[in-house]
């Protein structure tokens, strides 16, 4: 494609998306006016859902394709800035959009490991992978492993790691979609999950990478507007400056002052003590099982009998006692489970909160050191994982040139930065609202959003006043409820829901495509049936995509409760299994087949061993590192594996070394290289 034609293409793309963004803003304004004129909230929710899903479907249908290069890599004609937006939407998932600000709200500084980890990884992508993979220019990440290291085994292990990481990740996205659609459409969670999958499929099913790319650009626009609007409005209201990143330092100062008052309030201390007492009691009950359950049942029965015998009969108390007895755990297993959960909740409530801006909460020097180690390890895992996740790396196959691949990483990081710098601001602003407006007020006049979003209040010291310890917020609601917390019109709530949906859908689309192309392209086409025709390959990929989506939806509908840590696992897995072989594949000519196999097996093996061991089998953590940062052991294992096994075996062929040269220089034909 000539430079003139490229420029023209770029200009018309800019015009389309400019018009589209204007249209979307007009649409929001019209809805806001309609709300003022009395349109019911439920309608606004529906209109947002239907309009955005309709939009994605339209783009999906318009960019449907039967061309193999368009299907896998969007025809390699996505300009840097648009690829940056698409990668941004690709990258920012439900965990980022819905979960991150909530985590920051709860853990303050310590939550910033996610903010740093999920941005700093792009430095590694830019320096070690993106331009070289673009020059290599095939369809998938396992393609590179197959070509660079030869033989089917490296490709096969790469496929396995790619599918494992992507599958874990996509389940989390579908879970997020289910959460949002059930909340805003008023349907139950499982139905919400399947409705969401439909939304995911309309796009990726029709047009592969091409449809996904152009939808993602549209989704980026929606999600960034949706994220920034409530933060900006909140900032404007609290500080009278609409640029939250610049001014929330002052708000943080006020929060820090208020924290001292709250933490030192005797009523708060009393509430903490009562929770600690409750936790001890529950722990004792669990220890005494099954006898304690028997005692509890007998006491309840005796109480009920006593109440029934009393005259005049107190109907309400009898009903309550009956209810209590009816809901007692039936078996020891059930009791252990339920009381265990209650114990966990009570312990969490009994823990004294840490000041927001203080790094590494802990009572002792040792526990603070441990928190710091975990922060560093988690940040490292998330960064290296970023540079190993196939759905991100494959985006850099889609630019027209190596030059644009480099620029495109910059644009990606820039577009991501816009959201990631706003998330800590949102957390601080919401904390300010909660700490100054809610804590210390009477429990009977709490605002209605608290009940609506399932915020649990337990007046444990029975003083009728809300203490900080008495409120437990599920972090996942902070972003979705932010507009209501800030008292903004409902149209903003609808917008945020649409944004969350866009974030989850765009990531899920890309992940499903990775899974489907790993199976259809790498396994079937490259290994089983190299003569397969293009229509057959695309058909197979679509069929696999459908299967993967349904399996992921099924898993998500079981509501695995370890979901957030699962997302972090995906990073550890991808980082340990793929980053060493990919980076050394470009930067170290000596790396060979044996090194690749050893590195991937060792990296993946150590990571899985550690996280499964610590998470499910009570293994003692090494250096106190939590399972979500398992990659901190897996990544070095991967590097050692590649280096050691490569040095112990003969160097790779000259042809392979020429391929490495070919990847290193943007303009270099295979024949020009020196040995």
């Amino acid at each position: 494609m000539g430079a003139r034609k490229n420029k023209q293409y770029f200009r018309s793309l800019s015009r389309y998306y400019g018009l589209y963004t204007g249209g979307f803003i007009t649409f929001i304004i019209l809805l806001a006016i309609a709300e003022q004129m009395g349109m019911p909230n439920a309608w606004i929710g529906y209109i947002f859902m239907v309009a955005t899903l309709g939009l994605y479907t339209t783009i999906g249908v318009l960019s449907r394709t039967a061309d193999i290069s368009e299907y896998y890599v969007a025809g390699r004609r996505v300009p840097a800035i648009f690829n940056g937006m698409a990668s941004g939407a690709d990258w920012m998932s439900a965990a980022t959009f819905i979960g991150m600000a909530g985590t920051l709200y709860l853990s303050g500084y310590d939550g910033l490991a996610f903010v740093m980890g999920w941005t700093g990884g792009y430095v590694l992508v830019a320096l070690f992978l993106a331009p070289f993979l673009r020059k290599f220019g095939q369809f998938t990440i396992p393609d590179f492993l197959g070509a660079r290291y030869g033989g089917n085994l490296p490709r096969m292990i790469g496929v396995l790691a790619a599918i494992l990481a992507s599958f874990i990740y996509v389940v989390a996205q579908i879970y997020g979609v289910g959460l949002i659609s059930s909340r805003f459409l008023g349907i139950d969670f499982t139905t919400g999950v399947y409705v969401g999958v439909l939304g995911i499929l309309v796009c990726s099913f029709l047009g592969g990478a091409k449809a996904i790319t152009w939808t993602q650009v549209a989704q980026y626009v929606i999600l960034i507007i949706a994220y920034l609007v409530p933060v900006v409005m909140l900032s404007q209201r609290i500080t009278e400056v609409p640029i939250p990143q610049l001014v929330y330092g002052e708000v943080l100062e006020k929060v820090t002052e208020r924290e001292q008052e709250i933490f030192n309030d005797p009523a708060q201390k009393e509430a903490l003590r009562l929770y600690a007492q409750k936790a001890d009691m529950l722990a004792a009950k669990i220890k005494m099982l099954p006898a304690s359950l028997e005692t509890e049942r007998r006491q309840a029965e005796a109480r009920l009998a006593r109440l029934r015998a009393e005259r005049p009969a107190k109907a309400e108390e009898i009903a309550a006692a009956e209810n209590f007895l009816g809901h007692l755990p039936r078996t020891e297993m059930e009791a252990r489970q339920r009381w265990g959960k209650e114990l966990e909740a009570a312990r969490a409530s009994a823990r004294p909160p840490a000041p927001h801006a203080d790094p590494f909460a802990g009572k002792t020097e040792a526990s603070r050191d441990n928190a710091r180690r975990n922060f560093l390890a988690l940040a490292a895992c998330l960064m290296i994982g970023t540079a190993g996740l196939p759905h991100i790396l494959m985006r850099y196959y889609t630019t027209p040139t190596v030059r644009e691949a480099r620029e495109s990483v910059f644009w990606t990081l820039f577009f991501i930065f816009l959201l990631y710098s706003a998330a800590p601001a949102l957390a601080v602003l919401v904390k300010f609202e909660v700490y100054t407006k809610l804590i210390g007020t009477s429990i009977s006049d709490l605002p209605s959003w608290m009940a609506a979003w399932g915020v649990k209040i337990n007046d444990i010291n029975h003083d009728g006043i809300l203490q900080l310890a008495e409120i437990s917020i599920n972090p996942d609601i902070i972003v979705l409820a932010a507009p209501e917390i800030a008292g903004l019109p409902y149209v903003v709530s609808g917008l945020v829901a649409a944004g969350g949906l866009a974030a989850a859908l765009s990531t899920a689309d890309a992940l499903l495509l990775v899974i489907a192309s790993a199976l259809s392209h790498d396994v079937y086409f490259q290994m089983v049936h190299p003569e397969a025709s293009t229509p057959l390959r695309i058909f197979l990929s679509k069929a696999l995509l459908l299967v993967a989506a349904l399996v992921a939806a099924f898993v998500a509908s079981l509501r695995p409760d370890t979901l957030l840590s699962m997302v972090a696992w995906a990073f550890s897995i991808a980082g340990a299994a793929l980053f060493p072989v990919l980076a050394l594949g470009v930067f170290w000519k000596r790396a060979n087949w044996a090194g690749a196999v050893a590195g991937m097996v060792l990296g993946l093996g150590v990571t899985l061993f550690y996280l499964v061991g610590v998470r499910f089998y009570g293994m003692t953590p090494w250096f106190g590192i939590r399972d979500i940062a398992a990659g901190i052991f897996g990544v070095p294992a991967g590097f050692i594996g590649v280096i050691a096994a490569s040095l112990l075996t003969p160097p790779p062929s000259e042809e392979t070394q020429r391929l490495v040269e070919y990847c290193r220089y943007p303009r270099l034909q295979a024949s020009e290289t020196e040995p």
Partner: protein, 85 residues
């Protein structure tokens, strides 16, 4: 300069810039976090400095690193005659 030498220069400079930028990245991430509590004694725009770095400062450094790398490499491509058409 003969083509081979030019290519060697290109790769040597690529390695050098990569090493320098990775070093900056390392400091902006791990050193800054390691000393967060000490940095918090200073204040910037009303933020405790350690908090500011982890929430925004290091992120800005990352953006700048990637921007600089793209600019540097795109120029190096031309200098060493390996730029694409």
């Amino acid at each position: 300069m003969p083509k081979t030498r030019l290519l060697q220069t290109y790769w040597r400079k690529t390695l050098r810039i990569t090493a320098v930028l990775v070093a900056v990245w390392f400091v902006a991430t791990f050193v800054v976090v390691y000393y967060a509590a000490d940095l918090n004694r200073f204040s910037f725009l009303g933020f405790p400095l350690g908090f500011f770095m982890a929430a925004q400062g290091s992120l800005l450094i990352y953006v700048a690193l990637v921007w600089f790398y793209a600019r540097y490499m795109n120029r190096l491509d031309k200098e060493c005659g390996v730029a694409e058409e």
